[in-house]
């Protein structure tokens, strides 16, 4: 159930069960000569957690601002539950937003911050109080209602921002780099917490981030953006395992691109034109040159090289191995109890032919 709001028509828009809840159709946004978003089309289904991922300047925030109604598209249309919202100003829409800076009102207490969206929807004082109390409990901030935002830690501010966005039961939630301002440990904790909140509220969520780990952890689907365009849309697993383009392969995780290599790539499939071969570092095995072939040796390709460098990174060892004129990155779990190679050692690299991917250049 949604909160009673003045503009019931817009609220009713969100109720349709069949249509995708949010649809961008060929949206373009230009600022003067800069095209921030170019011919962007995508849909978000009900209850989905969709992440827009891309490097800085790729148009993520602009996309979110368009969806929130703070910017109007230069061309194309945005549909919510099948109806165009281009002419609806942001304050007549029903949505929850968590801003990158949290945008907590610095002159209001936590409680008054949470009450704000309820008050704007004309909800009476008694109900406001109970809803705020319930929400504060939900995000474990019951004791902090009387504090000013500046008296909270980063993680607490983040939770207040999230609570404020959710308290009026909006049909969808927009997050702009929601965890960007937190330190690493807190970020992981909040990722788990957000995931469980999303499950509990079942709210359609569009999240913008440049942090691939955050995207992979939280999302049902990821839209990878590059220079204002969509590069690929897919589930996290599919994106990582079968990146469509070289950009996606390199942006999500590490990738060995076969270029300037002095051997022929053996693969199960034919290499399409306009593509390069790619393999993930953890798909490569590193063994001593004199080690014998293993059982699945027939399915593998073997090349020899010399270790350039070894980097110890916690649970992982990362090797840079020179093969001819190209350098391969190999990632290996420390737990694999493999012999440790030193720079200058000769090694044999091998991988399953089926692990080779072809990505568009």
């Amino acid at each position: 159930m949604h909160a009673p709001i003045q503009n019931s028509e817009v609220a009713a828009l969100h109720e349709s069960p069949v249509l995708p809840q949010i649809e961008f159709s060929s949206v373009t946004k230009t600022y003067g000569k800069v095209t921030a978003v170019r011919d962007l089309s995508m849909t978000v289904s009900r209850g989905e957690f969709l992440t827009i991922l891309g490097p800085s300047g790729s148009g993520k925030t602009t996309t979110l601002m368009l969806l929130a109604g703070f910017e109007a598209p230069t061309a194309g249309d945005i549909l919510i539950a099948g109806r165009s919202v281009a002419a609806v100003p942001s304050y007549r829409r029903d949505q929850g937003i968590v801003f990158q800076s949290y945008a907590l009102f610095p002159h209001l207490t936590v409680t008054r911050n949470l009450e704000f969206p309820l008050e704007m929807r004309g909800i009476n004082t008694a109900e406001r109080t109970t809803r705020v109390r319930r929400m504060l409990e939900r995000v474990h901030l019951s004791d902090l209602g009387g504090r000013m935002p500046s008296q909270l830690s980063g993680g607490q501010q983040q939770r207040v921002a999230l609570a404020r966005a959710l308290i009026a039961d909006p049909p969808f939630l927009l997050l702009d780099e929601p965890l960007g301002a937190l330190d690493r440990n807190l970020r992981e904790q909040m990722q788990i917490e957000m995931k469980s909140l999303h499950k509990e509220f079942g709210i359609t969520t569009v999240c913008v981030t440049h942090d691939q780990e955050e995207a992979l952890t939280l999302s049902d689907r990821i839209v990878v953006m590059r220079a204002g365009r969509i590069e690929q849309t897919d589930s996290p697993e599919a994106l990582y395992d079968r990146p469509a383009t070289r950009f996606v392969a390199k942006f999500l995780g590490e990738a060995n691109i076969f270029e300037n290599h002095n051997f022929k790539i053996e693969s199960e499939a034919e290499q399409p034109s306009g593509t390069v071969a790619m393999i993930r570092p953890e798909r490569i095995c590193i063994v001593a040159t004199d080690a014998g072939k293993r059982g699945d040796g027939d399915l593998r390709q073997f090349v020899t090289g010399i270790v350039d460098d070894m980097i110890y990174a916690g649970p992982l060892r990362k090797y840079h191995v020179r093969v001819g004129s190209s350098v391969f990155i190999v990632r290996e779990h420390v737990a694999a109890r493999q012999p440790i190679f030193r720079p200058g050692d000769g090694v044999c690299l091998n991988w399953l032919r089926s692990d080779i991917r072809f990505v568009a250049t």
Binding site: P89, Y91, R92, S101, P106, H107, P117, M120
Partner: protein, 592 residues
């Protein structure tokens, strides 16, 4: 239809009241004046030939430029070391010194000019003391000469030079000097190569401010100078009073304006160009960069963060070596400057309590007779009451109009914003006598000469500029995502403004109102032109007194006026203190 709707919602609409007021009271009349000066529609330069044809005019013109240049130079020579020493002083001393500069800056210029009459006059403090000591037998001629003009002018202008300098110097990143030192620069080299170039914006703002102020401000020269020390502005004011020969007045005004504009563009552009990539765009009006208001705010915040240990910066700043000489010369210099800035006021305050039939220093006895005379004489307390009423009206009008304009400007395209800001700030950017003449004409057209409404409108012109500067500075620090956040929670634009924006920019708005009131309360040049002798404000009454017979009551009035800035400082202190971001230390304690 859609575009039309959009236009109506454009924030630029909020600047309309300010621009309309500006256009009617100042813009149209000044164009009118210009056309008059070039004999439109015949278009000829006869008026200008006529002006330059009279040697007396040329002499006054050169004298005006000379006085302005020399006064600016003295202010810079005295102000730069003073500012430097203030910035390098320890924290508590710095705060005290800045307060001691701000208080005279906020004090009525008339009261301070009057103080110099009392000090330099034939029966003034200096002559009295010298005669008393037997050094001289007849009084020296200390007043009504060029020397007195410079003493008075520099006294009035010095805070205007020091405050921008201090602001610029405090903005210089402390680590830069340390970096220069670490790269082997000797202290003096580090100063010349790093500190000095970075302080140039302050030099520019201060010099422009003082120079333009000198061009248009005739009160002090007229009060302290001799007959030969006339300024062009005195001339213009005199012409308005005697013969209202518009073409002649317009010509003089435009010559003055031309000098101001020439210097403004020269200094404004040149220094910015020499600096290369200046942090502020050159297009911005120089008044918008006036750091006085920012400084005041920073000053208060500094005053209130007692934990910030900044002492180490003192060492980094020291330009010269720590010889015993510079240890004595520096403090002595600052002491002398402070005595120069503050002693006239103190002397007037002391004299205002004198018991004799006329003012004397030191007073032979103490009494409150001049205060009684002020509060008892309707011509005095009536004038004060009129001034308060007008001041409040100006503060209200200009705060509303100016805040709307600042908000609108903040939301418009940067290029348009620069242009409109410059337009709105014109009345505080050009010589005040020119504004006065234009305003006079504008109010004549509206039939408002000699009415309270007219005076309020005339004074609001400058006050709006001041409010726009202060509120804009506050808005520049305002995080606009807070407004987006409010709107995302279904707050309408008006609700957003009232519930989120306004509470957060309130310190700026209150600061603007305070300065608008002070501006009105001390305004004399424009007011004397438009009052039509029927309305007497306190500055007008004081001026009349200074010019004709000096009624000692004016000492009591001046003493009271020196309390006003102290009161306002307390008001600002309270509003800004309450709005300051919470200290992080205490937060940690609360959070754990």
């Amino acid at each position: 239809m859609k575009t039309f709707q959009k236009l109506g919602q454009m924030p630029i609409g909020l600047t309309v009241p300010a621009l309309a007021l500006l256009l009617v009271i100042f813009g149209i009349p000044i164009i009118h004046l210009f056309l008059n000066s070039i004999n439109a529609p015949a278009f000829s330069a006869t008026n200008y030939y006529k002006f330059f044809g009279q040697p007396a005019n040329v002499r006054v013109l050169f004298q005006t430029i000379e006085v302005s240049v020399v006064a600016t130079a003295i202010c810079l020579i005295v102000g730069y070391p003073t500012a430097y020493l203030i910035v390098t002083a320890s924290r508590s001393l710095r705060i005290t010194l800045i307060a001691l500069v701000i208080i005279p800056y906020l004090t009525s210029g008339l009261a301070r000019t009057y103080a110099w009459i009392v000090i330099l006059g034939d029966r003034g403090v200096i002559n009295n003391v010298l005669v008393h000591l037997g050094v001289i037998h007849s009084p020296l001629q200390l007043i009504y000469n060029t020397m007195a003009v410079y003493i008075g002018m520099v006294h009035i202008m010095l805070p205007l030079m020091i405050l921008p300098l201090v602001s610029a110097m405090m903005g210089i990143d402390r680590s830069l000097m340390a970096a220069a030192r670490s790269m082997g620069a000797r202290p003096l080299t580090a100063f010349w190569r790093v500190f000095f170039p970075l302080s140039l914006p302050g030099v520019r703002s201060g010099s422009l401010l003082v120079f333009v102020f000198c061009l248009g401000f005739y009160i002090t020269p007229a009060a302290l100078g001799g007959l030969r020390d006339a300024m062009l502005s005195t001339f213009i004011a005199g012409q308005v009073a005697s013969s209202f020969d518009i073409p002649r007045i317009a010509t003089s005004a435009f010559i003055l304006l031309a000098i101001a504009v020439a210097v403004l563009s020269m200094l404004g552009l040149d220094l910015a160009g020499a600096q290369g990539r200046a942090p502020t765009p050159a297009r911005k009006s120089w008044v918008a960069r006036l750091p006085i208001f920012g400084l005041l705010k920073r000053y208060f915040s500094e005053f209130l963060s007692p934990y910030r240990a900044k002492l180490w910066t003192t060492q980094l700043y020291q330009a010269g070596d720590n010889s015993s000489l510079s240890n004595i010369v520096g403090p002595l210099f600052v002491l002398l400057v402070m005595v120069y800035l503050l002693s006239p006021g103190l002397i007037v305050i002391i004299m205002s309590f004198s018991a004799g039939a006329f003012l004397e220093f030191p007073p032979s006895g103490l009494s409150l007779q001049w205060y009684r005379s002020f509060f008892g004489d309707p011509s005095w307390n009536g004038a004060a009451w009129t001034s308060i009423q007008i001041g409040v009206a100006v503060a209200i009008l200009s705060t509303i109009v100016g805040t709307l304009a600042a908000y609108g400007l903040n939301r418009t395209h940067p290029r348009l914003r620069g242009l409109l800001t410059m337009a709105i700030l014109t009345p505080v950017t050009i010589p005040v006598i020119v504004v006065g003449i234009a305003t006079y004409l504008g109010l004549v057209n509206l039939g408002l000469i000699g009415s309270t409404t007219g005076i309020v409108l005339a004074q609001s012109l400058g006050a709006i500029g001041i409010v726009v500067v202060i509120v804009s500075a506050t808005l520049a620090n305002f995080d606009r995502t807070l407004e987006q956040a409010a709107k995302s929670m279904r707050a309408s634009p008006l609700q957003t403004f009232m519930r989120v924006t306004l509470p957060l920019i309130r310190p700026g708005v209150i600061g603007g109102a305070v300065f608008a009131f002070l501006h009105s309360f001390d305004e004399l040049v424009i007011t004397s032109l438009v009052s039509g002798y029927s309305i007497r404000t306190l500055p007008l009454k004081m001026w009349e007194n200074i010019r004709n017979q000096i009624d000692p009551t004016i000492a009591a009035v001046s003493a009271l006026l020196m309390l006003v800035p102290v009161l306002w400082l307390i008001v600002l202190y309270l509003t800004w203190w309450r709005s300051r971001p919470r200290d992080h230390h205490s937060l940690r304690e609360l959070a754990t």
